[in-house]
Symmetry: C2
């Protein structure tokens, strides 16, 4: 048999294996049912909550029942912030009170009991607050910069607006503000507020932070243009309790030839508390588990170890990602794939690595096109796998269709019914194929 | 100025124009609001219905208010089938009656008053009915072949199953069956029946045709495996009335240099009656109108004429597509773009033309990538523009993400809330860019 003939047969085998991923994966799809367990059986899974603890148990049990090897927990301490039962905002004009759709931002301190009231100063950037100086003192700062609708990728629009939510309170408090409200980080115009993390800085007063729905933000903006001295009333009773013991969940299939070279696939198990954490990021968790389960169902034994990690506490601390990288620092992670952009139809992967590493993965595009991946971008990864980067791990992010993601993200609308079973499963299969190629051919 | 410099400036201008489509199109998006008018203001628009007549008026008024030129109607006679108020199916076992989620197929004759009852013979293909011969006589034929879940493109899965709906009654009646029920043409497993057209043949008895929800089809299949002699009861009172006068709606911007060379953009104005015809095909209608309106808003005057056609009666007759091609047969249509695959995120265009024509359009891919088009496929078009093909028109179909389409198609769930405004608008802009390139550079 000539070498070209061998190569042809090898190619044929390989092509059959790739088709088998799609055929078995789409004929017997399990990711949506796993996501139903996680979202409907457990619900929102904010770090430190009883639901997050249940999710850890569920993940461990699920991986065991799927036949994964070396199933174990990697412990971490996580923040324990509790929203509280009260979250209210209203425009006060004389005796008239106009309620606004609002939620407290994650990590926010409470208002005084009974709430606080103040005049509002509307801005569209952090810089603007700094230039306003003393005019801010005693006021509520209203950050109202929208997503840029002209950006095709909604993650870019989010990236261009989210500093208002994450840094807004620190910047406002430095100038003496008493609270902040921010326009929800959303592509949609509706009455649903979106939460998310906010931060404080040492030596700067901690002031409460709220998010208005995009419609409420428009209403406040219009009201201010008519009555710049209207007052806004805000109330919440959120609190931060002591850190809680938690964990990320790990399971794997050991490699047959190079078991010490590890490929990680993962998502994050925690979520915000307002919805069910379906797209963010139950989707990524079940896709990673389904991808490894699919490799098992196909009877394949990878040359390198393929490991699933369900990271804890991506949303407000990244303690799971950091503790995993620390606990496993003596192991060799050649690549890590994260799915944390929603369970929508997969469109591409983004790869951070050397040009040769990226080119090698790009050469596998024909295999990935069988499940709808159209290209391999340069650059990308994920928050949880980020701490593996400094040790040379190739970081890869699954990039699904992004248009709908920020309609639901961090809101009560991030629920199972927004996920399409086929789109979710195609993402899982694309991760399985990519992990398999990495396990066979390395980086 | 050297020639390369001129070329560089020309390229820069061109690139600016392309960006302007996205920037203006996403900053001031009108397609979703137009779709709200059509779906919430008018609703389902089955050919011959008062709603279809309203939609024609609406389209004409809308095109006029958008400033299109030469707004007019192209008349056609359309079938007028009426569903009736009764559509029922139930499994009968002794005194037990188990209702099933069902709808009548479009074009079906009525059952006798009070319904009909018969034993059921389950098959998975038309051929199987033919081989069963006399066993079919007096029975209800149950077509239960699912979509092939392993096909990435759900339109391919639909194409592989829809003969059961469209031809099932003719084939069954030839063998003496008294009625047919078909598994709904859907990718989803739920309790929502999907209608669609069925046909009869001269000289073959007309028997009623129904569609079961996919869950109801599974239930009937399971019941039959336990009790092959169970009886199914079916009732409907649909009827076909006399043909009705209707029309397709036309408007355009005349070309400045070659006005007699026409580029058509269109969708179909009629829909099935169960939902609102949002994805099928209100989306295509408003995208075509928004695309032409966007060219106007940008202050562009195309070299060739760009025309919008809202075709009537795609669903059950194609009278609009045929009458348009006939009425305009002396005009030169160099290209026609149809959007009739849902208002989801655009992924590609499919082009039917000579290899040189396809290659020319493929060379414009970089412009189309600015709004998410990843490739130009060979082959494609649309039902309404099909009759233009024989005269040499390049036929082009917009191909959006397909995974969700058949969850809603022809069912009560084809409603506005299933459409994402950004996804819809990106499709409109992609059509505008492509029509603009065709108008500037020809085929």
């Amino acid at each position: 048999m000539t070498l070209p003939m061998l190569a042809a047969i090898s190619f044929a085998l390989q092509s059959t294996t790739v088709d088998a991923f799609r055929i078995e994966g789409m004929s017997h799809a399990h990711s949506f049912e796993m996501l139903r367990d996680l979202t409907k059986g457990i619900g929102g899974r904010l770090s430190g909550s009883p639901q997050a603890a249940k999710a850890v148990q569920w993940g461990q049990k699920k991986m065991t029942s799927l036949g994964f090897e070396n199933v174990h927990l990697v412990p971490c301490k996580v923040p324990h912030w509790v929203r509280g039962k009260t979250e209210r905002a209203a425009i006060i004009q004389g005796s008239r009170r106009t309620p606004l759709a609002v939620c407290v931002l994650g990590g926010s301190v409470s208002t005084p009991r009974g709430g606080l009231t103040g005049e509002v100063i509307e801005v569209t950037s952090l810089d603007e607050v700094a230039t306003l100086g003393e005019k801010v003192r005693g006021k509520i700062v209203f950050y109202n910069r929208s997503f840029d609708p002209t950006l095709l990728n909604t993650f870019a629009a989010y990236g261009g607006a989210v500093d208002q939510r994450s840094q807004g309170a620190v910047v406002a408090a430095k100038s003496g503000a008493i609270a902040t409200v921010v326009r929800s980080m959303s592509s949609a115009l509706d009455d649903v507020p979106h939460t998310g993390s906010m931060s404080y800085a040492d030596g700067v007063p901690k002031i409460p932070g709220f998010a208005l729905s995009t419609l409420a933000a428009n209403r406040l903006d219009q009201s201010l243009s008519q009555d710049p001295h209207l007052r806004l009333s805000l109330e919440c009773n959120s609190q931060t309790l002591a850190d809680v013991d938690s964990a990320s969940v790990v399971g794997e299939i050991r490699g047959s030839e190079k078991p010490d070279e590890i490929i990680v696939m993962g998502g994050h198990l925690d979520s915000w508390d307002l919805g069910e954490g379906a797209h963010d990021d139950g989707a990524g968790c079940v896709q990673a588990m389904e991808a490894l389960s699919l490799i098992k169902r196909l009877g394949l034994r990878p040359k390198r170890t393929i490991r699933v990690v369900l990271f804890m506490n991506e949303e407000n601390g990244l303690r799971g990602g950091r503790s995993y990288a620390d606990a496993k620092k003596l192991e060799t992670h050649i690549a890590a794939i994260e799915s944390d952009s929603g369970g929508f139809a997969p469109r591409s992967f983004g790869v951070t690595g050397t040009p040769n590493q990226v080119a090698k993965i790009q050469s596998w595009l024909p295999d990935l096109q069988t499940v709808g991946i159209e290209r391999i971008h340069v650059g990308g990864g994920g928050a949880d796998i980020g701490p593996l980067g400094p040790s040379g791990t190739v970081l890869i992010g699954l990039i699904p269709e992004s248009q709908r993601y920020f309609d639901y993200h961090h809101s009560k609308n991030d629920t199972l019914d927004k996920v399409n079973p086929r789109e979710l499963q195609l993402g899982a299969i694309s991760m399985a194929i990519l992990a398999w190629k990495l396990s066979e051919e390395g980086t």
